[in-house]
Amino acid sequence: MIDGLRVESAGTSTTVQDQGRVGYQRYGIPIGGALDRVSLMAANTVVGNDVGTAALECLYQGPVLRVTARSVRVAIAGAGAQLEITDRHGDRHIVAALESVRVMRDEIIRVRLKGPGMSAYLAVEGGLAVTQVLGSYSTFSRARIGGYAGRPVQDGDSLPVRQSHASERDEVRLANVSLKPGRSVRIMPGPQVDAFMPGSIEALCEQPYVVSPACDRMGMRLAGPKLSHRHAPDIPSEGMVSGSIQVPGDGQPIVLLADCQTIGGYAKIGIVISADLPLLGRLGPGHQISFSLCTIEEAKAARKELAAEIAGWRAKLEPLGNAHSFSRLYSTNLISGVADAMYADW
């Protein structure tokens, strides 16, 4: 058994995720993968991994992990996320998002989600040593597939890592990259937009909706202006894509996310464009979300733009210098203050 990270406290929903499981939807298995793939890719970039390497997705309340390997290099990415490292003397240090840090055996990593985002991704240099299932490391908990034992991690689990110790190199920061929670996402009209009363999609885009507490990796229920069907909400069941906005009989939309069912029978008024799907992964209960209509050409342009931005990240890595190898220069209070000021306008 390879050492790695021991779960002292699992957090709300901490799962191993990568870019998803492609090719099995015809058998009823969703693509799944990170809700916010951009943050997954950012965290991996900072620790020097391939962008799609499996990492820990932390939702709502992050986990507390004890390092059992000789050392690990980690980075957190997510709107308002940070790491709190407790060293062997019991001193606590804060490491900002998108900064790499080397953590030694028996030191403690606490993933802090201070908002405004609801998700964060903890990447480990070299990746987590879990088993690939159907071409992916992603956890699909409902069917107990993939990740760590097919489920969210639990207190006491030992997550093996692929690299016995962090490589010898300077720590880095991914500068000038912002992972803001997306309050505004673009949609294309859904396949059943005409099954709704005239003006419904305009109504959907006119006022913001609020994310209700009923949300998980499968989908998020929204509350806002009621959308009315011309007749019934049911359609002959058909294949689904994540980002679909389906509307059941109560007129309140549900946006389907990474683990969405492969086939669904409710009318879909719109579909979130692929470039904006990661933004949905940053939203949680109580957050507002506004929709705006766009064309398929705009959707493709947005996707290209995002891909180009991600391709430029490696060039944006800045060395933090040896003094920052553990960010020990910073005190907890100082960094928290800076972070709060940075996020204040969100």
Binding site: V22, Q25, A143, I145, E238, G239, V241, I263, K304
Partner: protein
């Protein structure tokens, strides 16, 4: 029709050989080995084509899909001649939460509901919702009824349920809004299977009623990996 920047939904007009057309279209897409096509999902009247959005312009893919659909001729239609399965089911009331309510609704006895359900030969219309989950048509008319008003947040793996003109078997614990009339011990989804789903669209299915005792024995055998269902040697 482009329904996202990553997918096209091809809808087919009503046709007596709908299933055959959908299967033929999927086979055609697979044979074409189109580099821009990632996945193909068959449903009741539609084929969802997941595309690699970086590969080609949407208009080009749409045009190609249209051409392929138009090129489908009646001789390509694959008759629903998949494998045939006899799936054990237990209609014992302890495993069939809604059997009495369904019987009352249909003005039948519970035994008659079970008999009607088991007498029918069904076709697998589509696989999906949950991993390996079959949607089976055509439920006998006497048993057809709308979904439950309030879905259950979780039903037990193996639950056999009915609603509208279909019957389903839930392969894992999941939320469900259909009426549960029995339970099957069969594993419909297995990571060791190739493919992981036991059933395929076009397969045919009949249910074979087993006692509560036999159900327990089969479930235990499945649990110990000592038994798995094989298709029947011949068509019904």
């Amino acid at each position: 029709m482009a329904i996202a920047d990553t997918a096209f939904l091809v809808e087919f007009a009503d046709h007596p050989m709908m299933r055959g057309r959908l299967l033929a279209f999927r086979a055609m897409l697979e044979k074409a080995e189109h580099p821009g096509i990632v996945e193909v999902v068959i449903a009741l009247k539609t084929v969802l084509v997941h595309c690699d959005p970086d590969w080609a312009e949407p208009d080009k893919i749409r045009h190609e899909l249209e051409q392929l659909a138009l090129a489908l001729s009646a001789s390509d239609y694959q008759p629903a001649r998949g494998r045939h399965w006899r799936i054990p089911i237990c209609y014992d009331p302890t495993l069939a939460l809604d059997l009495e309510a369904v019987a009352a609704h249909a003005r039948l006895t519970t035994a008659e509901v079970a008999r009607l359900h088991a007498e029918q030969t069904y076709t697998v219309s589509m696989i999906g919702f949950m991993p390996g989950q079959p949607y089976l048509t055509e439920l006998p008319e006497r048993l057809q009824l709308p979904r439950r008003l309030t879905p259950r947040t979780s039903v037990v793996k193996g639950s056999v349920a009915i609603a509208t003109n279909m019957t389903v078997v839930y392969p894992i614990d999941c939320p469900a809004g259909w009426h549960i009339i029995g339970r099957s011990p069969v594993e419909l989804f297995s990571l060791s299977g190739t493919p992981p789903a036991m059933l395929e669209p076009g397969d045919t299915v009949r249910f074979a009623a087993v006692s509560r005792h036999d159900y327990g024995a089969l479930e235990a055998a499945v649990e110990r990996n000592e038994w798995r269902l094989e298709p029947e040697a011949s068509q019904p």
